[in-house]
């Protein structure tokens, strides 16, 4: 319980610091504050999708059903954080580019990412046999994750995107006092959101394990 309280205080601190302590960014102005929420959400989304793929590979190797549950939980959490990143991105886009949605390559890629995992859940719901569902959805998760590099890294490079990726790199390179304040808040936010992800994952895992045990007991 202490960890949850620490996490709650930590995240509250990050939220307050992002408006009070952190200065407005040089290139992006006041809108730059969203970096504290948007980038960690996107980072956790990619991390959770990566974990979904890793667990899917584990399942295909070892055929233990718990890996399938872990892959499912990670795909769900990844989708939640991906939706958060999409929404914060759209809000920022409204301020910086003038419209909530304008099919910038970065927005296209995140929309497709959401569609991929929506299709993953459709596939899961279409198969009733649990072993078959685990196997086929694991294959689909691996296939789907292989298209992620195309969407996240290649598409925005090949097609000109206005997304400010370099803003973060600049932040690390220029070490002005102002940027250092921003970097501290940003890294604190990354740590906090990562903690939030681990907590959610843990709860979901315990819950799914209980459901599984209950289903087993009913069968025998």
């Amino acid at each position: 319980m202490t960890w949850q309280i620490i996490l709650g205080i930590w995240m509250s601190g990050v939220v307050i610091a992002s408006f009070v302590y952190m200065p407005a960014t040089q290139g992006l102005g006041e809108m730059g504050r969203i970096i504290v929420y948007h980038v960690p959400a996107a980072w956790i989304a990619v991390l959770a999708y990566l974990m979904a793929m890793v667990n899917s590979i584990h399942y295909l190797r070892k055929r233990e059903i718990r890996y399938d549950r872990q892959a499912q939980i990670n795909a769900e959490l990844g989708t939640v954080f991906c939706i958060l990143a999409t929404f914060t991105g759209a809000i920022w886009s409204r301020g910086a580019w003038g419209a909530y949605w304008n099919w910038d390559p970065r927005q296209t890629s995140i929309a497709v990412l959401l569609m991929i995992y929506a299709a993953y859940f459709v596939l899961r719901s279409a198969i009733s046999d649990s072993d078959m569902r685990a196997r086929l959805s694991a294959v689909y998760a691996v296939l789907a994750f292989l298209t992620v590099p195309f969407l996240v890294f290649i598409v925005p490079r090949v097609y000109y995107s206005l997304h400010p990726d370099l803003e973060l790199v600049n932040l690390v390179e220029r070490s002005f006092e102002m940027d250092r304040q921003m970097l501290v808040v940003f890294l604190a936010s990354v740590a906090g959101v990562s903690g939030l992800y681990l907590w959610l994952y843990n709860i979901q895992k315990r819950l799914e394990n209980l459901f599984y045990k209950k289903a087993l007991r009913r069968r025998f």
């Binding site: 497709v112 569609m115 298209t147």
Partner: protein, 230 residues
């Protein structure tokens, strides 16, 4: 055949020959593909053919071409594995060859199927919409790589759908997001080839299509075993 120095190749070709023979006898998959493509093509030409002028014309034409090809492919490509499940020949095929030759054979069959569709539909599309192809080589390369990529990624998905009980719309739902990077690249390349934008821009798109093909094929080859074996 076991004495061949490339056992996979000869077995894959055997699977391809078997599928081509079945297809030649029934002509079910090809008819489904072709009728779907012709129907959508006629609808497109009838409804927007008269408005295809101006600078945005190439953008619209490129998107329409790949929408037609994508949905026709979805109508026919899942057939290869569904037919094996329906006729109960899956077990015989599993005993006859390893998963990889089966995959390669089915993939080659889908490539042949899509190529024989595109040689008919793409010229018809160009004629019916009064398009002028500026970069002929680039256009052919785009259609070639695009059709290969459609077949490459959807073959393993067809196997998944067949195992999942061949539920009607599942094939389209599963393949759309996976094929979207390919579609985006192909649409962009087609637009350039039809004269929209600088000709040099087509190279990056073709490179992306090429790598997509490679990734799709390698991943499917590695993963197919898990779909195929119970």
């Amino acid at each position: 055949m076991a004495t061949s120095s490339f056992p996979w190749l000869s077995r894959s070709l055997a699977v391809l020959r078997k599928d081509l023979r079945i297809e030649f006898r029934t002509r079910y998959a090809y008819s489904a593909l072709l009728m779907f493509a012709i129907t959508t093509l006629v609808t497109v030409s009838f409804s927007v053919g008269g408005f295809m002028s101006g600078p945005e014309m190439t953008d619209i034409a490129a998107a329409l071409l790949w929408i037609i090809l994508f949905f026709s492919a979805m109508a026919g490509l899942s057939r290869t594995f569904v037919q094996e499940e329906e006729s109960g020949t899956v077990i015989a095929l599993k005993m006859a060859a390893e998963p990889e030759p089966v995959y390669i054979g089915k993939y080659l069959f889908n490539v042949v199927l899509l190529f024989s569709l595109t040689v008919l539909v793409v010229p018809l599309f160009v004629v019916m919409l009064n398009l002028s192809v500026v970069l002929v080589g680039g256009f052919l390369a785009t259609v070639f790589l695009g059709a290969m990529g459609l077949a490459g990624a959807s073959t393993i998905l067809a196997a998944i759908v067949a195992k999942a009980g061949a539920k009607g719309s599942l094939m389209t739902v599963l393949s759309f997001p996976i094929l979207l990077p390919l579609m985006l690249g192909a649409i962009s390349a087609t637009r350039t080839a039809l004269g929209g934008g600088p000709p040099g821009a087509i190279n990056a798109d073709l490179l992306m299509l090429f790598f997509y093909n490679g990734v799709a094929l390698a991943a499917s080859l590695l993963l197919f075993e898990y779909v195929w074996n119970e």
